[in-house]
């Protein structure tokens, strides 16, 4: 409250719409755990990545032509004849990779520190909804340049819906807007690719709303007990987030200016051709683990179910994890299996990038089995069998000293890692 200027105009507005106290409450005075480490930067970075995608996307849409005869050429016109069009397109292209990278780190951070546990289940769900929306948006955006990978990705992914029993064929035709992937498909994908980011914005607002009810989780995973446990968001976390933003922009700029096509497939610089199938149809890197799970199951419907199941299973995570302790810092066994899951996901991504031949098939199946085993069997068991280490009394005692020296040592170790 103290931050609101006593200016008459401000007071006039504040009396009618308390926007200044709202901002003060949520951006300035907002009490934030004082022990957040740099893994907590990735939430705000995801928000910034979303803004970058929307801003560059809106400007690109002014030049792009959503027509199957003109789309490819219009993208090349953006690259050649639109002022700084190459910059906009490369920002948008690499921005999507950065967005996923940041969100995946954000999710793994949540897994490590138990951020999905009570009372943050709905917060976790909203995050997963955002992830699913992002995936749909990214997939449809990838189709828009109408290159070979665009076209064949659209064909492969929409064909998944034919696996639905009885109505699969008609559902797929309805999605296509015709009997093949064509202009009608491209048009609706463009429309939805423009719409969904704003749905994501809506989901982000509710995600933040839920976040601000019980506040951020923290590396110790214990509840806030008083004002000594928190710091005001501004200036402490605004400055910390700005530093993170600087690093994020540096990485993005390195890709945009010096390796803009590193993460893209060269096949997508060939115009879409329904008569020629590329040798290997591979999705963008951020879909590779899911692609590996899809192909691990020899049955089409089974593969589709497993692929969607790999994300849907995260919705029940708050109940699959039987441990009362949130942070993996105090969970010696969970800490190990967390890193095993990370390795498993990387293996899945590697399998997804390679053609399904020879050992790849076996490795893909084992890694897929382990993925589900982790959530369905190992996590519930570990939560019951593990003996967690004692929790510190409060964040303040842990961070500022006065007891809980062990926890502090652990905290310091974490910070330096």
């Amino acid at each position: 409250m103290s931050q609101i200027p006593q200016n008459r105009i401000v007071q006039w507005i504040e009396y009618r719409l308390p926007i200044f106290s709202f901002m003060d409450h949520h951006l300035i005075d907002y009490p934030t755990p004082r022990n957040l480490n740099y893994w907590w930067n990735f939430g705000s970075l995801a928000g910034i990545a979303l803004v970058i995608q929307i801003v560059t996307g809106i400007v690109l849409a002014m030049q792009y032509v959503p027509n199957s005869d003109l789309a490819f050429d219009s993208v090349e016109r953006i690259m050649r004849d639109v002022n700084f069009g190459w910059l906009l397109r490369y920002l948008h292209l690499n921005g999507s990779s950065m967005f996923f990278a940041v969100v995946y780190i954000h999710i793994f951070r949540g897994l490590y520190y138990g951020s999905y546990k009570s009372p943050r289940e709905l917060l976790w769900w909203l995050g997963l909804v955002i992830l699913l929306l992002m995936m749909a948006t990214a997939f449809m955006g990838y189709v828009l340049p109408w290159g070979q990978m665009s076209y064949w990705a659209a064909t492969v992914i929409t064909n998944l819906f034919t696996a639905i029993p009885a109505v699969g064929e008609s559902v797929t035709r309805w999605l296509w807007g015709g009997f093949v992937v064509g202009n009608a498909t491209l048009n609706r994908f463009f429309s939805l690719h423009y719409l969904l980011p704003f749905v994501i914005v809506g989901a982000v607002v509710v995600h933040l709303w839920a976040l601000h009810v019980h506040k951020s989780n923290n590396p110790l995973g214990i509840d806030l007990k008083g004002p000594r446990d928190t710091l005001p968001f501004h200036p402490y976390y605004t400055t910390k987030d700005l530093f993170g933003l600087g690093v994020f922009l540096l990485v993005l700029a390195l890709f945009v200016f010096f390796a803009p096509d590193e993460l893209a497939s060269s096949d997508n610089y060939i115009p879409a051709n329904p008569l020629v199938t590329p040798t290997h149809i591979v999705p963008e890197w951020y879909f590779l683990p899911f692609y590996a799970i899809l192909r691990a199951i020899p049955d089409k419907l089974g593969g589709v179910v497993a692929m969607f199941g790999s994300i849907l299973i995260l919705f029940v995570l708050p109940w699959l994890d039987t441990s009362k302790v949130r942070s993996a810092r105090f969970r010696p066994i969970y800490k190990q299996i967390f890193w095993l899951l990370v390795v498993d996901t990387i293996i899945l991504g590697w399998v997804g990038a390679n053609p399904p031949e020879g050992n790849m098939i076996l490795i893909g199946r084992l890694a897929t089995a382990y993925y589900f085993l982790h959530f369905l069997v190992i996590m519930p068991l570990v939560g019951k069998l593990e003996r967690p280490r004692p929790l510190p009394e409060s964040i303040a005692t842990s961070v500022l000293g006065g007891g809980g020296a062990a926890a502090e040592a652990a905290a310091n170790k974490m910070e330096k890692a």
Binding site: L87, V256, D261, S265, S266
Partner: protein, 251 residues
């Protein structure tokens, strides 16, 4: 352990698409002038490459986005571009009588296509369709090395190799059978700057030209990139210093 995993994750992120379509054939590796952070196109090579494209490749391969005016970007003067354009006839119209007519090309015109349509191209080339070359360097795994490899990869087939009718053996092309006959031979063009027109020289020049055609804004992109990176480094250091100062009291 944790550091190693993060490093592995980063490496996988960078390598994933490359592992996806591993090159089946050993590509000749060349030091291109445009590689690396400070790499730029070599204007002399681009102009020689344009000459090779114009006198050799353009007989069968189109460049769908190349306009005569773009040639000023590789260092050809506006007057010369005008003269080059005027050597070509393009269709225009309809005129006031409703008739299509031809006129000499202007710098704003696109470079003429060798064939009116794909079937015409196939008929003239034994059933094979010569691909458009505008994006070829970006559209092939291996990029410039691949294009250079194709152009210099023509040899006699091994004795046990079953070469199809009208096909040619190429060490780099997937499957080793390519419909295109060897396009370059020594002194196929006569360079104005006195450079010896050997096959590797012409192949390198035209590949450089095609790399430019695929990514004409690369020089501009890298120049701006260096400024942006330097700015961001300074900004990030200032952010870090600010953060340290603010947090000094909180620990």
């Amino acid at each position: 352990m944790r550091g190693a995993i993060i490093a592995a994750m980063a490496a996988l992120w960078a390598l994933a698409p490359m592992g996806a379509v591993a090159a089946e054939h050993e590509l000749p590796s060349r030091d291109w002038s445009f590689e690396g952070v400070f790499g730029r196109y070599d204007k002399a090579a681009l102009q020689r490459g344009f000459q090779v494209y114009r006198e050799v490749c353009s007989n069968c391969h189109g460049m769908r986005y190349l306009a005569f005016r773009n040639l000023t970007e590789i260092g050809i003067s506006a007057a010369d571009v005008k003269a080059i354009a005027a050597e070509y006839e393009v269709e225009d119209g309809p005129n006031d009588e409703g008739e299509m007519f031809t006129r000499p090309a202007r710098p704003s015109d696109l470079f003429p296509q060798p064939y009116p349509n794909a079937p015409a191209a196939r008929v003239a080339n034994n059933g094979a369709l010569p691909p458009d070359l505008n994006l070829i360097v970006k559209a092939r795994e291996g990029g410039a090395d691949y294009v250079y490899g194709i152009l210099t990869g023509f040899t006699d087939p091994p004795e046990d190799f079953d070469l199809g009718e009208g096909m040619n053996y190429n060490t780099v092309f997937p499957g080793n059978q390519i419909a295109m006959p060897p396009p370059l031979f020594d002194k196929a063009v006569e360079y104005a700057d006195g450079t010896e027109a050997s096959v590797p020289q012409m192949a390198a020049d035209v590949t450089e030209f095609l790399a430019w055609a695929a990514e004409p804004k690369m020089d501009e992109r890298k120049q701006l990139g260096i400024k942006v990176i330097l700015f961001l480094i300074v900004l990030t250091i200032l952010f870090y210093a600010t953060k340290r100062k603010i947090w000094a009291k909180a620990h």
